[in-house]
Each structure stands twice: as C-alpha cells, then as structure tokens.
Amino acid sequence: MIQAKKFMESSASAGAETLPKRLLEQLEAWCHGPVDILCAAVTDMNRLGEFAPGYLILTPDALITAEATRGQYYTELSGQSFFARQHRRESDVAAYAFFRCPFEDVEQFCVSVQIRTCTLYYKARRGVDRQIAVYTAGRYQAVQEVIKRAQQLMGARDGQQAGEEPKRAGAPGRGADMPPEDGAHLVFGAGAEATKRRSVMLRMMSYFRPYVLLMALLLLTYLASAGLNLLWPYLNGTILYDRILAKNEEVLSFLHLPAGRFAAALLLVVCAMVLTKLTMLGFEVLQGAVLAKLVPMVVLSIKNQIFKSMGELSLSFFQSSQTGSLMTRVLSDADLVVDFFATWLPNILTDSFTLVSTCIIMFVLDWRLALASWVLLPLLAFITVKLRSRLHTLFGRRHRSERSLRSKLNDNITGVRVVKAFGQERREVDRFQGTNENVRDAELSIVRYNNLFSALYTLVQEAVTLLVWAVGAYFVLVRGDITYGLLITFAGYVAQLQQPLRDFSQMFRSFTECINASERVFEVLDAKPQITEAEHPVRMRDQKGSVSLSHVTFGYEPNSPVIHDMSLTVPAGGTLGIVGRSGAGKSTLVNLISRLYEVQEGSIQIDGVDIREMSFQDLRRNVAMVSQDTYIFMGTVAENIAYANPQAGKEDIIRAAKLASAHDFICKMPEGYDTVIGASGRSLSGGERQRISIARAILADPKILILDEATASVDTETEKQIQASIQYLSRDRTTLSIAHRLSTLRDADHLIVIEQGRIVEEGTHQELIDKKGTFYLLMELQTKALAMRGLTDEVKKGER
C-alpha cells in the first residue's frame, strides 16, 4: 500500500498521468497485499482484439497485466494533443482482469508485430507460450521500455548479463547503461505529449503585446467614432427639427444668442454637424494609419517565428505528408489571425458598444418606438443563423475547389515535360475543365445564396424602418405625443443598428476561422523537435572519427523496424563500404549516424561518445554527407559550395571545386562562380549538382564522410573524375560509402552487406568474393548486366 501511494505521488509530481485509483485497489486486493510497482505502461486493446484500456505493470518478480472487463471507456489512438485540449471524458473502468506472469516461468518476452497491432507474449520455460497483451502501434515504445526493464530484472535474477537477447524486445540500449531511476515511472506512448492548455486566443494576443499602445489608440478611435455616431441622429433630428426649425426659444438662450436669431443658431448647428462628420473622418484616417502600421509588424513577427521553429524541427516532420500545404497554409494563416485581431476584434467591441448604447438611448427616448423597432429582430437573427451557416459551408466548398484548381495547375506546370512526352495535353485539358467547373458551381451557389440572404436581410431591415416610421407617424400625427424631430432621430438610430447587426452575423465565422488558423500556427510552433540537443552536450574539439554502432534498432514507424539490432565498428580513417539491395536500409543507416533520425534502441558512438550526448555543432561539423539527392540552394555557385563553411575564402572555394572536379564546368558558365543556381537560377545537371555537393563536403572538411550513392547520376567519365576526388577526399578520413556499383567499393577496408536491416555478410572485397555469398551474387549479376548493356550500346552504335 505504501509503495503504491508513493508511486502515485511521485508520478503526480512528475506531471504524468497516474494509474487509476480503482486499478491499484483491485490490484492490491487481487495480490492480497501491497504491490511494489516499478513502472507501468498503458495498453489499449484486450486479447480479443477489442478496444479496452489495459496496463502492463512491472513488479520486482513478475509482469502483471490488467485488462478492463467492465465499465465505460474510450480509446485515443492518436491526436492526443487535440483531445487533451477538449473536455476530457475520463474512462470509467469498473473492473479489471489481472494476469501475472512470474519471471521464473518466463524464458523471454517477445513482441510480434502485426500490421496495425502488436502482441506481447512470452516463451515459457515450461508449458505453453502465452500471449499477454495486445496494443496498437502508438503504445509500442512505452511497452518496449517496460519489457526492457523486465528483461534487465530477469537478467539480474538469473545472474546473467542483462542483454539476454529478447527477440527485438530489449537490446541493451541507453537505458541499460543508466542507473535505475529511483521510484517508478509510468511510461506513456510518444503521442501523449503534454499540451499547453493556455487559451489559443490569449496566446495569440501576446503577439500584440509590444504594440499595446497602438492597439489602445486603435480602440479609442473606434469608440470615439462610435460615440460620435450616436450623437449624429440627435443633432440631425431632435436639435435640427425640434429645436431650431420648430423655433424653440430655449435653444437660443442655451447658445447665448439673442432672441429670434434662428438663422445664426441654424448656422451653428450646421457647423457642429460638419465638424462632427469631419472628426469622424479624421478618426477613420487615423484608424487606417494605425492598422497599416500594426498589421504588417505583427504578421512579420508571427511568420518569422514560424520559420524559425520550422528550422528546428526534425527531418521526419518535413517528410510527413502535406508539409508543403502546411507551409503556405501557415503563412496565410498568419494574415488571417492578424486580420481578426486588428479589424474584427475592435469592431466587435465597438459594435457591442454601439448596439447596447443605441438600444438604451432608444428606450429612453421613447420605449414604444423602441419596442416597435425591436420586434422584428428575432426574425433577423433567425435568417442569419439559418442562411449564414449554409453560406459558410458554401464558402468552404469554394475554397476547397479553388485549392484543387490551383494544385492542378501547379501540378501541370511542373509536370509539363511528362504531359508533353506522353502526348496527354488533351486529357489534361479535360481534367482541368472538370476541376474548373467545380469552382464555377461553387461560385454560382454562393452568389445565389448570398443574394437570397441579402434580399431577405434587407427586406426585414426595411420592414423595421417602415414599422418605426408608421408607428412614429401615428404618434406624431394622431396622438401628437412625440415630435417630428424625435421621429427623425429615432429613424437615425434604427439605421445605426444595422451595421453592428450585419457585423455580428459575420463575426462568428471570422472568429472560428481565426481560432482554427491560430491552432494551425501553434501546431507548428509547438511541434517539438524529436531530435534535441543534450542539455549539457559533450564538446569535442579534436575528433578522430571512429564510428561504432551497438545494437541499433530503428524504424520510421515505431513498430516496423528498418534496421534490426545492428552492431559494427569503423576505426578512425577507415573506409566502410555498405552494399545491399534497394530498400535494405543503407541510407537509413547513414542518416542515423548523422542523427537526422534518432535510434530507437541501442546507440551510435563517435570516438566513444554517444551522438545523443554530442553537441549538434560538433556532430554536424564532423559528419558530412554527399547523398543521392543533392540540394542546391538559391544562390551563387560560390555560396552553395561554401554553404557549410561561410567563412571560406574564394581561394578555398576554388580549391574545393577543383578537388571535386567541378572547377571546369563552373568556369564554362559565363558567370563562373558568380552564377546564380537553384530555384529560379540556372539549372544544373545531376552530375554537376553532385560535384557541387562534393565540393561542399570538401570545404566542410569533416572527419567522417558519408557517401550515399555519390556517383549514382553521372556518366562513366565523370564518375572517374569524381572517384579521383573522392579518393582524395577520403584520405585521413573515416568514410562510409554506399554504392550500387560494387566495383567502386574495391578500395574499401571493410564491406558489409545489408539485407532487410541486418548485416548478412562482412569482410574485405576479396573475402566476400571468395565466400561466394550474397555479395558475390550481386557482383556477378552486375557484371553481367553491365556487359549486356555494353553490348546493346555497341549494337546501337553499329546501326548508326
């Protein structure tokens, strides 16, 4: 009991979710006593393959599973950050079924990974192997950690080493090297990241904080013009008609004018009216000026921040789908958000002010007329709610169809080469027409609805005005208890009500749009880079460049590893050739070494230091990659070569280009090293790009060089040149080289052959050939294929 309590407290203080109280009670009852919980993981299915919350609970001598059997519960497979923001409906599990697997029965815990789910089972020492838990991919990581600790416990128990290899389950990784944490911790899936519950609106407002004075000024001008607006009907109705035109003497004494001088009074009032209008105009100009100043500044700061945090995100974020759309969306979202705050929000405030104060004034002036003007308001609200919502969906439809039209166009322009090559212009036109018609239809229905809406809206408003006039005229003419000027004033106020009402009818949409846009912006701002620098990174001044991998496992999806438990060592200055079929995991392996992705289990070390402990700066400075997809930035050739080392002088750049065999083709361009390349610049061939990226690597002067198919896209002669450059480059450097053309790896000190993420053969070139294994087979195949290709080339030449 005590331990369980301690566990709850410690995890509560850590901010993590705790095991439910009911579970602990039932567990203790089931075990007939207190349970010492080391750690636990949440699972989300039962063994029948149905959704049900469950727990894997690790105790010093057994692994206990709990499965919900009764009660109401729900399962979050993904989008935890979203649901966390919503009102959370807690699962209410009435009863759990427990199962205990004591370590003495277990030989090994294994995870079998199906397409969407994983099953945890154990190999029994005696008796049958047994499935103990089922869970979805999102829980894989958490379960894996619990199993890893279980495996360590079992290892310690058997007096053996912790690394009694469970099948993919618990290779001793970083966790094994670290001292056991004191207290227990509950491990959740990676998706359950903590979310900031701070209101989106408030957070967005913080961007306006530096401009508080401007905002205040803006609000002030809005309120002032609203106030003047209120004054206007009074001036124009009551004062003008009832006081002056009705020749009311009071007004003269009020204005300190001699009796009978109504013309002068009229002049004064007209002057006052003109002045009011002018002041209002002045406020409007001021508003415009302030907005023009405020909006671009805030938009700029939001966009800057988006770009900055995008740069910090890991590679996997950008490779997830729809990043491109995210970029543009986020950028236009910034506009949308600022638009709401700078124009709509002040509008809402002033509108409510106008609305309330106008209503009060109307009521005070004459409550009967006020009631008459309000009687149709519910109808207006009804029309708004009914038609507007329909309009919103239509707007959404137009937006979507326009977007698909745009992407269709974009697709066609970028893919024009393929379209033309296959002569599909006609069909593309047809396809475009289809999309285009969708846009037209959407537009037409919007116009139709908008017209209907405006007509009805105006009709009701006109009806209100007419009603007020009718009732007012009746009071003026028949009952005589209100004056003509008051009626004019009243009509003015009724007109005054219309703008706020119209605004309100659109406000809700703008509000939801703003919230959605803000959320998308924060989605990017809050996305946490999966790969972060260690808090106190190890600085390494002089690296030698030895690389070693120990039991590395990695997969792009948590439950389908691409690299399985791989270990290898490359001494400083050595050359490792990596061979394998496409998709064997070669590129993944080198991406892990440069820490573009993070290993899931095991560790990678450079000069004996875990790369996760290393500072980014040292890591990136010492590991350079020349890969099959070279990226050329917008800029001059010289800037592109000096990308990794902007301080490099022109001479260094030329030397690097020379070593990369890039100098000659660069000199042949009219503008030499000053030629602008990359998007919108001169386009380079594959081989040229490759050589520029080699020059980039040479200038970076790394201790570890990774060549990922560096000569894949060049002809034989160019390859010869690049090979020479690479040979120069790999002197005194640790080189990891991936190549499809096996002959290029002849000089490697050591070769490994990878198949499905595992090393299947290793040795020197000659050893592997003598072994007559996979490498030999690949080699044979390639020689034959190349010979064939050579022959067909000959035939073609002969024909010419």
């Binding site: 010289a638 000199c667 030499g672 034989t716 450059s725 000959e794």
Partner: protein
Amino acid sequence: MGPMGRPPGGGRARFDRAAQNSSMGLQAPHQEIDLEKMDEESEQMLILRYLNQDNAAFTRTEGGFLDLKTDGKLYQKVQVIRMFPNTDKNRYLSVREGTERAREIGVINDLKKDFDRATGRAIEEQLNVRYFTPVITKLLSVKEESGYAYFVVMTDYGECRFAFRTNNNAVVKLSENRIFIQDLENNRFEIPDIRKLSVKEQRKLDMFL
C-alpha cells in the same frame, strides 16, 4: 568503373572508331581511350596551379590573340576566364587552352599584383571583350508594353536601345544597389549603383525590380 561499361576485345575497336567521330576525337585523332591516361588526367585536374610573372609569359600576337609560354610549353590562343565576373573582376582568372576542351593551364590569382602592367593590360583587353557589359549611366526612356520593357539608355559605350521580357528575371539584383539587366539577345548591362541615378530614373526602374 570504365571497363564494366564495355565488353573486352572487339568491342573496344569499335568504340574507338566511334570516338574518333565525336568531339573527343577532334583534338587527338589517333588517341585511344586509355584508362590510365584518364586516371592521370583526373589527377591533373585536381591540381591548382598558379601563374605569375616568374613562371608564365603572356604575349599578344599580331592577330590579336594571347599566347602563353609556361613550364617549357607554348600554348596558343589561350582563353582567360573570370571565375567571379560579378564579384571579383581582376582576381581568380582561369587561363585555358584555346582548344575546344579548354583545359585549364593555370590560375592567375591577382592580375594587378602578379603581372606587369603591359601584360595586365593585354589580358584585361581580352577580358573586356569577353565580358562586355556596358554600364548604364542614364535612363533616357523606359516603356512597358504587353510584357516587354523597352529601354533607351546612355552607357559608357554610347547610347543604345534594348528590350527584355519583364517576367523573366531579366533584372538581377546583385546587391542592394547594384543591378544587371539582360536583354532579349543576352546582352548584359550593368548599373553599378542605382542611387546615382536621378530620382525620376530610379522611379522608372522601380517597376522592374
């Protein structure tokens, strides 16, 4: 990788014959495709060789070409190329053979420092012709019509007229105030400092920046 691409024996002879007709064959009609030579050439290409007054002698020929004597060899009609035509006019010049392959003979680090004035002038002359870029000193008239801009300008070489397409990146900003304009025939014009133009001229130019 060379040998993998071709079968041995008879295939090679055919390849050689084909090669003779190609551009490679032009410079050395009886040259065999020799892998060792290729290796050697590749090695050669990695070397950066500087030329200066002590190891190289340029002479201006009667025909208006430049000959270069260096390393005991005479190279005729050499080409001089600016590696950084926009950012460093007189430094890092690549001196190349007059042949089609235009192999690099050497590099001049700094024309003003490494050679005497006469040689410097002779080389500069060549460069000025090669990199002919009139400097626009005055915008006389600027008109835009259906996607084309028509300029009448005064340059340091006299008045001229040219046109360019407005949506084709024809006007390149090299720095805040320095721009290049490339016309429809790929002629280059430079405005070294747009601030030196009158306000009116700047406003005319603004449309294309």
